[in-house]
């Protein structure tokens, strides 16, 4: 049975990196595990994957052996840019590029902070769930499928929360990015059904009118917009010129 770890198993190493000032973001299974834990689910990983810049990686490779970290594999030309480290018999993969992931600068800017309360409030940067999802969808390995489901569940809850609590463009921003990452033009029917009763702003109506998967739901958007006193001509123009994934 493969070894199974969570982010918390790597706390001492992450603290060392933080003290050293290494720029990194956690990606991979441990990152998915962190988001899973927020949903009350458990996801474990065989190793820790961290994403960094090429210059930080070179610095790390020089610094690691001095701190009891074994460099098992150096990144090789013309292969996946990854260095494999071993720390306290745990495997740590340090990547400077991964399929589907944007550049390090983008990932770091979008990253979230996870505070590990029981470990001296250590703050660990973890890649945004949409970036991890993009990576997992591009890699498309069998073992990633449960991770994809976890991430989609987490993101969809946040999309619903944004419709409930945010104002203006922020209401639909996450949903729009989610569709971009999935490469889909329309929302899945269950998610659309959850968002419809929350639609309140003109931006919600325009977004949903173009992205609900059924004509019935699209007409519901128009009705709801009319009931809320919004201008329905634009919304009807969207509905009348688009196609639908699911025939009514």
């Amino acid at each position: 049975m493969p070894a199974a770890y969570t982010l918390k198993d790597f706390t001492s190493l992450l603290r060392l990196l933080a003290e050293r000032g290494v720029d990194y973001v956690v990606i991979g299974g441990c990152a998915v595990g962190a988001y899973a834990q927020l949903q009350g689910e458990a996801v474990v990983s065989a190793d820790l994957d961290i994403f960094t810049t090429s210059s930080a990686l070179h610095e790390l490779l020089a610094w690691a052996p001095l701190h009891g970290i074994v460099v098992v594999k150096q990144p090789q030309p013309r292969s996946i840019p990854v260095a494999v480290l071993e720390w306290n018999a745990l495997e740590v993969n340090v990547l400077t590029g991964a399929p589907g992931l944007p550049s390090y600068g983008v990932v770091a800017r979008m990253a979230r902070e996870f505070e590990l309360k029981e470990h001296g409030a250590l703050v660990v940067p973890v890649a945004d769930p949409l970036d991890i999802l993009a990576n997992k969808l591009t890699a498309a390995r069998d073992k990633d499928q449960p991770h994809i489901e976890i991430l989609r569940g987490f993101i969809e809850e946040e999309i619903v929360l944004a419709f409930e609590t945010q104002r203006g463009r922020r209401r639909v921003m996450l949903a729009r990015r989610y569709l971009e990452v999935l490469g889909r033009p329309m929302l899945a029917e269950p998610l659309a059904a959850r968002l419809l009763p929350l639609a309140a702003d003109p931006i919600d109506f325009r977004f949903l009118a173009g992205r609900v998967p059924t004509k019935r739901q699209a007409l519901e958007v128009v009705d709801r917009a009319r009931a809320r006193g919004a201008e329905v001509d634009d919304i009807y123009a969207i509905v009348s010129t688009r196609t639908f994934e699911i025939p009514d």
Binding site: L7, K8, A34, Q37, L38, R109, A111, R112, E113, F114, E115, L116, K117, V123, P125, V172, R176, I203, R206, F207, G210, D234, A237, I238, S240, T241, R242
Partner: protein, 115 residues
């Protein structure tokens, strides 16, 4: 409704046709925005005239610059970016500018979760 000749003279699209409505709908779906014909954004429209205007404005700017006068067609972004430096700025000035710019364009707060 305006005639197509009149529309041409006014520089607008004229009466909406079925095609226009279709394109408008598609634009709304694609951009998730309110309708905007955005005629001035069309790269195929008046390209020659716009190019000549740009060249003339640039030349006027260069002439004014050589004469030590203020630019007749300044870059509108310069007014917004109060940290802009002259071309011969020192390293110290550039460093100070980056610091001031990072205060103006502050990184949005990071979302934080607790485990």
């Amino acid at each position: 409704m305006i005639s197509s000749d009149c529309a041409k003279a006014l520089g607008c699209m004229g009466p909406a046709t079925a095609d226009h409505r279709l394109h408008r709908g598609q634009q709304l779906v694609r951009l998730n925005t309110r309708p905007c014909y955005a005629m001035d954004m069309n790269p195929d429209r008046d390209t020659d005239r716009r190019e000549l205007r740009s060249i003339a404005q640039r030349e006027a700017n260069q002439t004014a610059s050589r004469a030590g006068l203020s630019l007749p067609f300044p870059n509108p972004w310069d007014e917004l970016d109060t940290t802009k430096l002259p071309r011969d700025a020192s390293a110290q000035q550039i460093h100070e500018r980056v610091r001031r710019l990072s205060e103006i364009c502050r990184k949005p707060p990071c979302q934080r979760h607790t485990l």
